[in-house]
């Protein structure tokens, strides 16, 4: 009996006789989550209409995409760093590999985006890009067919990379072969290109006039910071007789600093560019400034706590980092449509809807991509294993 099956049996034995146990049974949980998620999205569409749902859905979907797409480079970097360290950082790495399993889910949930494109991207309405006449290349690039092809290629490459780097989960080092076999450089390089393409195509393009060459890097840094913070929150500590606790605050602080540095550099470089001023203008209201101040304080707190790291402190900071980055994903998208930054009921319902759909789709897609189902260190599984062993 596998760990999954034993866990399912344990949970079933615990909760079969209660209503909560009935709905939380692993056999029904994913279906229930899917139905709840679809209901949330249907409710938003019914109440506010598709035009209002589209940006909220895009922002919520970006939050989902950030988990696997952000986890990918961090997993590669930790894998490489482990080659130089006496003790590998197992639990965090396995958790990040677990997040990679969401890549096919994000790909499947991206399917509505080409259909919603007329509601999201000004170029579909024939708007001028960059304030100048289109070149033949730009005319070809900004067509719906090319957009759909780019999206398909992007996710094909990302799923391939996720499969490549999740496959090493649970392998003993001796079997994994040479660590520096070139996969890290290739993987990081490909991810950077694909991530830039996706960030520019899907997020930056919601504003017809604003463009920044560093936007791809900025979005990828935010995704990675979000994914690492989420992994820090859910990964169990590395335990064992001779194991030293790894400091997880420093990588989180470094990613936060990179993300904040790119934001600052973009703001300083664009200076008084009118399109950039307009872009920042709609994002700079009370809520936008509050988000900026809170994020700045978080970066300072994380940097200061690297002097005194600890598990609880790291998780405390990581929880706020996750919240701030989720808000940032909405900050990138929704102000271009609403004219100001605020997170309303529609955005929260869309987030709940996408989360529900993702929870519902994850189990069947994991069966479809068995190479991604390598997560031996999830806390729930460990608890289930201990429970069945006690019985």
């Amino acid at each position: 009996m596998s760990v999954d099956e034993r866990g399912a049996a344990a949970r079933k034995a615990l909760g079969a006789k209660t209503a909560a146990g009935y709905f939380l049974d692993p056999a029904r949980r994913s279906l229930a989550a899917f139905v709840a998620g679809a209901a949330c999205l249907a409710l938003v569409a019914w109440l506010d209409g598709l035009a209002r749902l589209a940006p909220s859905y895009l922002a919520a979907w970006t939050c989902l995409l950030a988990l696997p797409a952000g986890a990918l480079p961090v997993a590669i970097m930790i894998e490489r760093a482990d080659a130089w360290r006496p003790q590998p950082e197992t639990a965090l790495l396995e958790t990040l590999r677990g997040l990679l399993a969401l890549m096919p889910v994000a790909a499947l949930l991206a399917l509505p985006i080409p259909f919603l494109a007329p509601l999201l991207y000004p170029w579909t309405q024939g708007a001028e890009i960059g304030g100048g006449p289109d070149t033949p290349f730009a005319a070809l690039w900004f067509s719906r067919a090319a957009f759909a092809v780019r999206l398909a290629v992007t996710f094909a490459l990302w799923i391939g990379l996720a499969l490549l780097f999740a496959r090493r989960g649970g392998e003993p080092w001796g079997k994994a072969g040479r660590i520096d076999d070139g996969r890290a450089v290739l993987g990081l390089g490909l991810h950077t290109v694909v991530g830039t393409l996706a960030a520019d195509d899907l997020v930056m393009a919601v504003d017809g006039r604003f463009h920044a060459a560093a936007f791809g890097l900025l979005a990828m840094a935010a995704w990675s910071s979000l994914a690492l913070a989420a992994a820090v929150l859910i990964a169990p500590p590395d335990i064992g007789p001779a194991r030293r606790r790894h400091d997880r605050m420093t990588p989180l602080a470094v990613l936060l600093l990179v993300s904040a540095g790119l934001h600052a550099v973009q703001f300083l470089m664009l200076g008084s560019d009118p399109a950039a001023a307009a872009w920042y203008g709609v994002r700079g209201g009370t809520a936008g400034r509050a988000l900026m101040i809170v994020s700045g304080l978080l970066v300072a707190l994380a940097a200061a706590l690297t002097l005194r790291p600890g598990d609880n402190r790291t998780r405390f900071v990581a929880a706020f980092v996750v919240a701030a980055h989720l808000a940032e994903m909405a900050w990138f998208v929704t102000p271009s449509f609403a004219g100001k930054f605020r997170i309303g009921t529609t955005d929260l319902l869309a987030l709940a809807g996408v989360a529900g759909l993702a929870m519902g789709l994850t189990p069947p897609l994991r069966r479809l991509f068995p190479g991604l189902a390598v997560t031996p260190a999830w806390p729930g599984r460990e608890a289930a294993r201990r429970f069945t062993e006690r019985r």
């Binding site: 760093a81 080659a83 130089w84 890009i129 960059g130 304030g131 100048g132 006449p133 070149t135 290349f137 730009a138 690039w141 900004f142 080092w173 001796g174 994994a176 072969g177 040479r178 660590i179 520096d180 070139g182 450089v185 990081l188 390089g189 950077t192 290109v193 830039t196 520019d200 463009h211 920044a212 060459a213 560093a214 936007f215 791809g216 890097l217 540095g261 790119l262 600052a264 550099v265 973009q266 703001f267 300083l268 470089m269 664009l270 200076g271 008084s272 560019d273 950039a276 002097l307």
Partner: protein, 591 residues
């Protein structure tokens, strides 16, 4: 001609170990020992010049003189040269700083090269007129100088005690090493000071490149947000190339091929390859975004760069600075010192073309200006490196010893107990390793009543913890120094600004953050350096001079104190494998 033996030496009949299969060749040759490292470093600084160095010692001053006589007084590449040398300095310091902060052990072989190259490049950059503010470059120079000097202290202390040193050198090293005796507290302070200086150097390098990008953007009316990233990537790439070229050259020096191994070449090659890809990414992304989303002036600027007046510099950057890095996909190219050194040198040279793209072309033409730059500032840089490595070892003796202790454990033999000089005071006990010394401390039990100190040839974190030594002065001094310098800079800028505070636009406030960060880095470097100097001026007991390559436990009071005899008996009574010292020495009774 003598054929050099291959490295690593082929193991007779043995396949590669599990570690070697996973990670590649070792970071230090198996033949390197703690005693051998100091001797090799002393031989290197005293060695007579070989043919290559003699040629360089003649050719470089001739080139420099020729440039001074024939060329105009001003720098050949006023702004581009500044950016190029500042980039080389930032790159070298960034690479070393990141490796040090991440505690990557293979840095030991290339650390001194990176620090010295960073310092020399900073000094050459200072000769060029800056396109904007010089605060960040001064901060970087302070950090590079501080890190170089701090990292040198244990090595100079080792050199000062070597009998083969001429008196003037011994005097120089004695003064520079202050009161370094390798005590656990001194090692703690040294490690923390080096880490603080490395972090300050990283911040200063980031501030310098960002400030340069903002200045060039305002001069050239550019708003390309990837420019700061491209400058940082280009700087680190050129630094990696320079380090690779120097490492390949250092490997030819007798006795140093065990310190700079095939593993170093392989990793440097991978680093250059990855950074080359990152550089290509920056240029391609910039071109694609400008082509797709850019306004007509941006597209025109792109066309000008690809096919107009900027084309020679752009294609030189691509052909010399970026494309050769792709040869390093091939393992044989990475493992060949000649190929790697050549690619590294090309990359370091090609970075100059990237800076030429950002400023108006020189009046004398690109080729003439480049030749003048090679004859003048580059010759000065080369002479600086040669002079530095005549005075100090080209590898860090202290860090290499730590690496050798970790990877190449050997049985330690000591001269007979009475043969060597006695300790200055109290009692001295020698141990083969830090672990044995810590075992002895555990065996002794209560330590509070005994004024003990541990000494060693490499950092001793476990011994410091066992002795309950802690060090906070360096970190606190760096933080206070950084905060004070940053605030002082902001206050000075506010006082200089015309009108009231509310007249300063928000963007100007934000823009001030970059030089303020540089000032804070300079303050932190000064604070950390001052705290280390304070530590090294405190009186400390010295271990016997012939025991500098083993771990030594010393007792501070004089031998008349009853505790010295009692401690000697307790140490001798410890089990052989649980802390009994290899040898014990007591100070001679005071007359």
């Amino acid at each position: 001609m003598t054929r050099r033996p291959p490295f690593p030496p082929p193991a007779a009949g043995l396949g590669p170990s599990a570690d070697e299969r996973l990670l590649g060749p070792p970071v230090v040759s198996p033949t390197v020992t703690v005693a051998g490292i100091g001797a090799a470093a002393a031989r290197a600084v005293l060695a007579p010049a070989g043919p290559a160095r003699r040629l360089a010692q003649i050719a470089l001053p001739v080139a420099l003189l020729g440039w001074l006589v024939l060329a105009p007084v001003q720098a050949p590449f006023p702004a581009a040269g500044f950016g190029w040398w500042a980039g080389l300095a930032s790159g070298c310091l960034t690479i070393f700083g990141l490796l040090l902060l991440a505690r990557v052990d293979w840095r030991c072989g290339i650390g001194r090269l990176a620090q010295t190259a960073a310092l020399a490049a900073c000094l050459v950059a200072l000769l060029h007129p800056a396109p904007g503010d010089r605060t960040a470059l001064i901060a970087l120079t302070l950090c590079a100088l501080g890190l170089w000097a701090a990292a040198l202290v244990p090595d100079l202390a080792d050199l000062r005690a070597r009998p083969e040193m001429p008196p003037w050198r011994a005097r120089l090293y004695r003064r520079a090493a202050l009161r370094w005796h390798g005590s656990a507290r001194q090692w703690l302070a040294w490690e923390r000071a080096c880490r603080a200086l490395a972090l300050a150097g990283l911040l200063a390098a980031f501030a310098l490149q960002t400030d340069l990008a903002l200045t060039l953007a305002s001069l050239g009316d550019r708003s390309d947000t990837l420019l700061p990233v491209a400058l940082v990537v280009g700087a680190v790439l050129s630094g990696a190339g320079l380090i690779a070229a120097l490492a390949a050259a250092l490997r030819r020096a007798p006795g140093f091929d065990g310190f700079v191994t095939g593993r170093h070449l392989d990793i440097l090659g991978r680093l250059i390859l990855a950074l080359g890809l990152a550089g290509l990414y920056c240029h391609v992304t910039e071109a694609v975004v400008a082509g797709l989303y850019g306004a007509p002036p941006e597209r025109a600027a792109l066309a000008e760069r690809l096919a107009g007046t900027g084309a020679p510099a752009f294609w030189t950057l691509l052909g010399v600075g970026l494309l050769p890095t792709q040869a390093l996909w091939v393992g044989a190219a990475r493992h060949s010192p000649v190929t790697l050194g050549l690619v590294g040198a090309l990359v370091a040279l090609g970075a100059g073309a990237g800076h030429v793209l950002l400023v108006p072309p020189p009046a004398t033409g690109y080729a003439a200006a480049l030749l003048a730059e090679m004859a003048g500032p580059a010759a000065l840089f080369g002479l600086g490196l040669i002079a530095a490595f005549r005075l100090v070892p080209a590898v860090s003796v202290a860090e290499m010893r730590g690496l050798a202790l970790m990877h190449n454990r050997r049985p330690v033999t000591l001269p007979a107990g009475a043969a060597g000089p006695p300790p200055e005071a109290g009692l001295a006990a020698a141990f083969a390793s830090e672990a044995a010394l810590v075992e002895a401390l555990r065996g002794l039990g209560t330590l509070d009543a005994l004024p003990l100190e541990a000494h060693g040839p490499a950092p001793m974190p476990e011994a410091a913890a066992a002795l309950r030594r802690d060090e906070r002065a360096v970190r606190e001094a760096a933080l206070v120094g950084g905060a004070l310098a940053g605030l002082a800079f902001l206050a000075a800028e506010v006082l200089r600004a015309p009108g009231s505070l509310s007249d300063i636009p928000a963007l100007a406030w934000a823009r001030l953050a970059i030089p303020a960060l540089a000032a804070a880095a300079a303050g932190a470097a000064l604070g950390a350096g001052a705290a280390l100097a304070w530590h090294l001026r405190r009186p400390a007991a010295a271990p016997p001079s012939d025991w500098r390559e083993v771990f030594v436990l010393t007792l501070m009071p004089d031998t008349q104190s009853p505790s010295a005899g009692a401690l000697a008996r307790r140490l001798s009574a410890l089990p052989e494998k649980a802390g009994r010292p290899l040898a014990l020495r007591r100070a001679e009774p005071a007359s």
